[in-house]
Structures are given as C-alpha cells and as structure tokens.
C-alpha cells in the first residue's frame, strides 16, 4: 500500500468534486462542507463514471405523498442509470449490502509534513505552506 498525494485541498471547493489518479486508480474526491470523501470512480452496475454524476440529497418518505429531503449534496447519482450512492460510505441506496462502490480514506496533510515522508506526488509539486489530500491505496 502506498500513500498518494492526489490534490491540493484548495482545488475542491465545498459541494464540488474532482477526479484524481492514485497509482493508476481513478478516484473521485468530494468536498462535503469541508469534509473530504473518496470513492472509486466506477459505478458497480456498469462502470459509469461517478465523477460525472449529479449530486443530490437523500429523499425518503414516511408515507406516500410526503417527501423528506435531507443530506443535500451527499448522494451521487451515476450519470448512466441514476443509481444513488452515499458519498460518505459508497453504499448504494437501492441495495446497500450488495451494491457499493469502493470507498477510500482521504486525509488532509500539511505540505510541510509531506515533503519528508514516503509519499508519492505524481503530478504536481508539494509546497510547504499548502494543505494536500492524501489517499492510501
């Protein structure tokens, strides 16, 4: 397993997402109100690219005709067939036990801590004064 520095945290604003490469794996990183989450960029259904999907809330209902809309922006809908995945867990809404996309740990690290460590920053230079997103793959 290697730790990959995949982006500067300032590149992904709250509510935004970014496709990154970590050791050849396509991973999409989401910023939910300052918290970062990383999912494999691959819908487990037919491999649609999740980073192209629409972020939406979670709609539930206690009874027909009543719509409870919560967690706005925390569900990603696959652009191909609109299956919903929880950005925090990678689990699908329709069948969370069996259908899920892989979730990765993503950490925010200071540039100063990264320049000395055993990290892989493939595509850009790490500056001491910035924060970076680091994924274990």
């Amino acid at each position: 397993m290697a730790r990959h520095v995949v982006a500067a945290s300032s590149e992904i604003a709250p509510g935004d997402r970014k496709l990154v490469d970590a050791g050849g794996r396509a991973i999409v990183i989401f910023n939910l109100g300052g918290e970062f989450f990383a999912l494999a960029n691959r819908c487990p259904h037919q491999a649609g690219e999740l980073h192209k999907g629409k972020l939406c809330g979670l709609v539930r209902s206690p009874e027909p005709g009543v719509y409870e809309y919560t967690r706005e922006g925390e569900m990603i809908r696959c652009p191909w067939h609109s299956w919903e995945f929880d950005v925090r867990t990678g689990k699908s809404w329709c069948d969370p036990a069996r259908i899920r996309t892989r979730r990765y740990d993503v950490k925010v690290e200071h540039g100063a801590d990264l320049v000395e460590g055993p990290y892989v920053a493939e595509t850009f230079k790490v500056a001491i004064e910035n924060d970076y997103l680091v994924i274990d793959v």
């Binding site: 539930r60 009874e63 027909p64 609109s82 299956w83």
Partner: protein
Amino acid sequence: MIAAIMPSTAVKPALETPLNAIDCDVHPNVPNLRALIPYMEPYWRDSIVDRGIDAIDSASYPPNSPLTARADWRDADKRVATRVEDVQKHVFDGLGADIAILNSLYGVQLVLNEDMARAFTRALNDWVRAEWLDRDPRLRASIILPMHNVEHAVDELERCAGDHRFVQAMMLVGGETPLGRRHYWPIYERLEKLGLPLGVHAGSSYRNPVTSLGWPSYYMEDYTAQAQGFQSQLTSLITEGVFAHCPGLKVVLMESGVTWLPGFMWRLQKFWRGLRFETPWVDRPPMDIVRDNVRLTMQPLDAPDDPEIVARLIDHFNSDDMLLFASDYPHWQFDGAAAMPAGISAALARKIKVDNPLATYPRLRETTA
C-alpha cells in the same frame, strides 16, 4: 332500502377432513338479466322492464368462445356454470376441490350510470349469496365492487362483509383509472381493516381501450392484452404507494397469467433502482413487495407442457407462497383434470392447493381449522 347482509348461519366448520384443494377462481354465470330482477329494488326492477334492458353482455368473454367455456363443461343447451350443480359436478367431483371461491364476471361494470351500476352490483352479490352460497357450504365468493364510485364501493363492501362466506372483494383489471391512485384508497383501507384481499380479475369495464395503444380489432388481442393491464395495475399499486399505506393488504391477480411476472418485475425493479427518488415511499425492491403482498391464481399459467421448463419458470418467483390453486372453471385453460401443471413438486403443489389459499384468505381458516 337495501339490508345489510348479516352473518350466515350456513357457515359451519363443515370441512373436518384434511383439505385436498381450494379452487380460488370459479365463475358462476348469471343466465340472463332476468335472473337478477328478484334481487333488485322496485325502482330498478321496473326500470329494467320499462326501458327494455334485457342483457348486459360483456365482450370480455363472448358466449360461444371456446375459452369462455370448455366444451365438455357445456350442457346440451350450451349453458355452462349457471347452477350450483354445475360446480358440484365439475369442480368438486371432477377436479377434486373441496372449497371453491366464486368470482362472478357478469358485466355489471359496463353500466355507465353509477346508481344503476350500484343497483346491479348489489343484485349480483345478493344473487350469488342466495343462489349459490346458500346452496352448498363448500362455496365462498368475492364481493363484486361497484368501482365507478368509491363511496358506492365502500358501502357495498360494508354491506356484504358481515357474511364471512365472502372472503374477498373483486374488481376488474380494466377500470377507469389506475388502481394505485389515491382516490381508491378508502377501499383499500377498509379491506385491510377487514382482512379481506383485493381480487383483481381479468376483464374490463371498457371505459378505456384494453391496450394502451388504442382499441384492438380482435378478441385474441383483447384477451392477450389483459396481461398488459395487470402489469400496469401492479405497477400502479406499487409506485403509488398502496402497499406502503396498507402494508397488510393482499392483492390477488386472477386469470392474469403467471409466467410474465418475474420478467416484468425484473424490468420494474431495474428502473426502480434509478428512478426511485420519484417514489421514495417505495423503499424496498418492488419484487420484495410483490412477494409479501401479491398472489396469483395459477390458471392460465402460460407455459409449455415440458415439466422442466415449468419448474424453471416457477423457480424464478423465488417464493413458494405466491401461487393459488385455481381451475378458472368454466374457462378452457387445460384439459381433463390437469389443473396443476406437471413440473411442480408435490410439496409445492400442496402449498398451492391448500396452504397458500388459507394464508391468503383469513376467512377460509374460520371454517377449516
């Protein structure tokens, strides 16, 4: 004034021997409209005569169609299933059933005037009660609901439900609006409270074309299209949230055909995964809902004779609870006494013939425990 139907003293635990089979779809035929006149209020009795109304024959089952009545079940005068003796001979003796549920298909749903439709439907239910249920303790029946007015339907349900020989309420698959729509829900709420399943039977009130594309030209198209109607009604019941609102309601699809269901549900479930945000009350896979809430009478099965193929088709339901034994008498769906197709194991056949009907119709258990 139409009197409420009171509990009948004829309901006794008459069936002490182990049951062999419960036939969940048997059709008593009203010989003609005159037969219902004794069961009508005076105003409607006179109106029928004054207006010269002598028949309300539906195109759903043309009298001379082979499907409408199996040849060896017709009398010499071509009458079929018009008397209790016919069911006794062909269903109880001929097919070995020991209980039969009567589902009248007389075309009261065709009547456009909703007051007249209610009067005719009441007369039909009272005719079934007096001419059939009172004449053989092995008979049960569905309450036919006048569906063109929801209040009328609830009233008729209430009026008849006191007689526990009525074990279900019934409507035709082809009505005025999709069955899941909320204006029908008072009926479903009442059914759930009473523990009565909702039977949805093939046939149409002909308010809408029997295909979604417009009117077909031929009977073959009409009858085949019934399965499309069932698909749409089942979808409507699920997506509109009837089973979320009334989780205890059982729906029995009758003469719907059987083998289309797994493939169709696969399709519905596939689209539910991507579109479920439209209907968030459908909070589990539609086929799971169907396994819990929907049953099907097993004739016509719509399968080839090969037992291995039949077994594989049944396997696709992934449930042993869904099928209910039915002959669909006197409709011609099979020959001889082979109502149970080859390819169904003895254990499953037992469930289909006895256990599943008893589980579906709580009132059957009152007299067979």
